[in-house]
């Protein structure tokens, strides 16, 4: 045990000090920051600027209606941004603030004149909403920012709304009837657990995020174990180490040390994520409420650790078998295959967390870390016996793999030269 700790300590300190660890640890939170905070900041800056547009319609009423709908929609957006309504109504990038002027001059010369103005940047945009255009179902919006899809989408909604209102109005409906008939509703998915259940979309995003973190770190640190064993083998320090520590201690120390590095990294990420969600995204605090429960984080820890130990044990065996980085890469793909397969099926499992394939995947030890965790996150009512069985099967498999891989490791680290074939590996396992 003493030796295991010394080996783990060395492994940990050496790794945490490397440049790549520092960069990775900082890069991911920076990326998160970039993806969340920067657009908001940019958007806040943009919302101050106002652009001028002209709406050209066949008659004054239509033009007025379009203008009022655009202005009202803009008002809604602004207040939504401030009061922090539901996230899905809040855009990460609010549309440009337009001051709208109206015109009823639908002559070709007017269009040419407006086009020239937009071209010379004297005017930012104009909308050609003449009766002909409306009949044809296609209004030209002439602007220098043709690719501004947020503005375009937003305008589309406002203008359609305006035209529907004018049409209803022309049929003689009263304003309140029009309002009532155009009232839109939201379809809100709800878990049978009631109103306190977390927001399903946030749940999906958070689970996917956690699954990806688990996948990447297990893969990354499993491969790290393999490479570090390979390095010890090729630098021939193995023999020095073996003169004082047993092969078992070496393998255990390595897995422990590298795993601790992985936990440190994930811990730092979780911490930054925590700080972020409590400060930068206060507006959406309601949304994440109930998504990241302590229970779920605990399950994350359990499945991450079990997955890591299982895969790094396999990787240790592979690292001891091979003699070069190239050989290692071929083998590592085979070892990691179940992990990759789980990720491919993960969205399917999110959609149908109780399907046969999901249940099988969550019990099969090599896919269980990702699949079982996803099921628990997405479907809180996952049967407890299945969770228990999944964990028990994984622990049993880990035990078997430690014995098996330990034997391969013990022989493999002293073997140089050609890559062993399957019968040879079987022989290694049988050695006393």
């Amino acid at each position: 045990m003493h030796n295991i700790l010394i080996i783990a300590k060395r492994e940990y300190l050496e790794r945490v000090r490397t440049r790549s660890f520092v960069i990775m640890t900082l890069f991911i939170p920076l990326l998160m920051f970039g993806l969340t905070a920067v657009p908001t900041m940019l958007a806040n800056r943009r919302s101050d600027e106002t652009k001028r547009m002209v709406v050209v319609a066949g008659d004054r009423d239509t033009a007025e209606m379009i203008r009022s709908r655009i202005e009202q929609k803009q008002e809604q957006e602004k207040s939504a941004g401030k009061s922090g309504l539901k996230l899905r109504q809040k855009r990460s990038l609010p549309p440009t603030n337009f001051t709208v002027e109206i015109s009823t001059n639908a002559a070709d010369s007017e269009r040419a004149a407006l086009t020239a103005q937009v071209k010379d940047k004297k005017l930012d945009a104009f909308l050609w909403a003449t009766p002909d255009a409306i009949k044809a179902g296609k209004l030209d919006f002439v602007t220098n920012d043709v690719s501004s899809f947020i503005d375009n989408g937003f305008l589309g909604i406002a203008v359609n709304d305006a035209l529907r209102r004018s049409a209803l109005k022309s049929k003689g409906l009263k304003d309140e009837d029009i309002e009532a008939s155009l009232q839109s509703v939201e379809v809100a998915p709800q878990s049978p657990l009631g109103k306190n259940a977390p927001n399903p979309q946030m749940m999906f995003i958070a689970t996917l995020g956690m699954v990806m973190v688990m996948y990447v770190t297990v893969l990354l640190y499993g491969v790290n174990v393999m490479r570090s064993i390979l390095e010890e083998k090729t630098s021939r320090i193995m023999e020095v180490m073996l003169s004082t520590a047993s092969a078992k201690d070496l393998m255990a120390g390595k897995i422990l040390g590298v795993g601790a590095v992985g936990l440190t990294q994930v811990g730092i990420w979780a911490l930054t994520a925590g700080i972020f969600s409590s400060s930068a995204l206060v507006a959406s605090a309601d949304l994440i409420k109930g998504v990241l429960s302590v229970k779920l984080l605990l399950y994350f820890g359990v499945f991450f650790l079990l997955g890591y130990v299982l895969y790094s044990t396999l990787c240790a065996a592979v690292g001891s078998m091979v003699n070069s980085e190239q050989e290692a890469q071929q083998m590592q793909f085979l070892v990691m295959m179940p992990m990759i397969l789980s990720v491919i099926f993960i969205v399917n499992i999110f959609q149908h967390p109780s399907s046969t394939i999901a249940i099988f995947g969550s019990l099969f030890p090599f896919t269980a870390p990702l699949v079982m965790f996803s099921r628990i996150a997405i479907q809180p009512e996952t049967p407890v016996w299945q969770i228990a069985a999944s964990i028990a099967l994984m622990i049993a498999t880990i035990y078997g793999m430690v014995v098996l891989c330990g034997r391969i490791y013990r022989v493999g680290i002293l073997m140089y030269g050609k890559k062993p074939n399957l019968p040879e590996i079987m022989k290694w396992i049988k050695y006393a």
């Binding site: 030796n3 010394i6 050496e14 630098s235 320090i237 193995m238 020095v240 073996l242 003169s243 004082t244």
Partner: protein, 300 residues
């Protein structure tokens, strides 16, 4: 007391027998040479001594007890395949290896600094291994084997790749260790070094011990039947001479093995008749000659 005792040890890998029924022991304070050509089973034997592999059969006693891992804290091992963590600083590396041998970090640091001073490499303590020359790395490896003050030191080809100055430095260290009563095992195929340092030897070939015992006894058993001659002039006395059973011409001098029962004086007269003699010396055979002879015989 016997530091290590092997009795009837056997190790095979599949069909290949690496060590076959090998028995020898090294008494405390002795310098022992484990000799043999490449592939004779030297490294396999050492690996079993320190528990890296287990023998198929036979018994190994270390410090008078059946092998147990905790005895390894009193063993220092310099493997033939040298290796260190390339990215680690020298001092950290030595502390790490010291801790694995049961030292405290502080004690390991102190010893590491002392040894580095003694081997004139203390200026490099804070450098990474990859910045060091081969010879320097060799010294660090040497220190790593001795740091924890082991009672039994195993050195596999210790002088390999060292220049004469450093080789002398290491040789002096080892003589010093011998004085302190440490048991030292050399494994090598370089006979000249063994001859200078060892008290006793075991010569193995193809996994079998072919010659073992006290070095002086072994050599005297061969008798003074060798003559080294430095001469100027005609060397044809070497050919078809009933007094000469074999010879080895080194250019500057020639080593002659006398035929059984031949008289060295007779040879001296014969050579003196034909050439000027600068030196004529009766000698015990060199270990190298014994080695070549014995191994040649067992291979035949």
């Amino acid at each position: 007391m016997q530091t290590i005792e092997l009795s009837n040890v056997r190790k095979s890998y599949d069909q290949f027998v690496a060590v076959n029924n090998l028995s020898f022991s090294i008494s405390q304070g002795a310098v022992f040479g484990l000799l043999g050509p490449n592939g004779a089973g030297k490294t396999s034997t050492i690996r079993m001594m320190i528990g890296i592999t287990a023998p198929d059969s036979g018994q190994i006693n270390l410090f008078g007890k059946p092998f147990e891992r905790k005895s390894l804290n009193k063993v220092g091992y310099l493997p033939e395949e040298r290796g260190l963590y390339k990215k680690m600083k020298i001092i950290e590396q030595l502390i790490f290896l010291g801790e694995l041998h049961g030292m405290t970090a502080g004690n390991a640091r102190q010893q590491a600094v002392n040894w580095c001073k003694r081997l004139e490499i203390d200026a490099w303590l804070q450098k990474k291994v990859e910045e060091l020359s081969k010879g320097m790395q060799q010294k660090i490896q040497f220190i790593a084997a001795l740091l924890h003050d082991p009672d039994f030191i195993i050195m596999d080809e210790p002088f390999f790749g060292l220049d004469p100055v450093n080789a002398t430095l290491l040789k002096d260290v080892m003589l010093d260790l011998k004085k302190q009563g440490k048991t030292i095992l050399f494994s090598t195929h370089r006979m000249d070094q063994v001859e200078k340092l060892c008290d006793s030897i075991c010569l193995i070939n193809k996994g079998n011990a072919v010659l073992q015992g006290d070095l002086k006894t072994i050599k005297s058993g061969y008798g003074k039947c060798n003559v080294q001659i430095e001469y100027e002039g005609n060397g044809d006395f070497l050919e078809k001479n009933p007094l000469v059973s074999a010879y080895n011409n080194y250019g500057n001098y020639v080593e002659v093995r006398l035929a059984p029962g031949a008289d060295a004086q007779q040879l001296l007269h014969m050579v003196a008749e034909r050439s000027r003699i600068n030196k004529f010396e009766l000698m015990e055979p060199s270990l190298e000659e014994i080695f070549i002879n014995t191994v040649g015989k067992t291979n035949a």
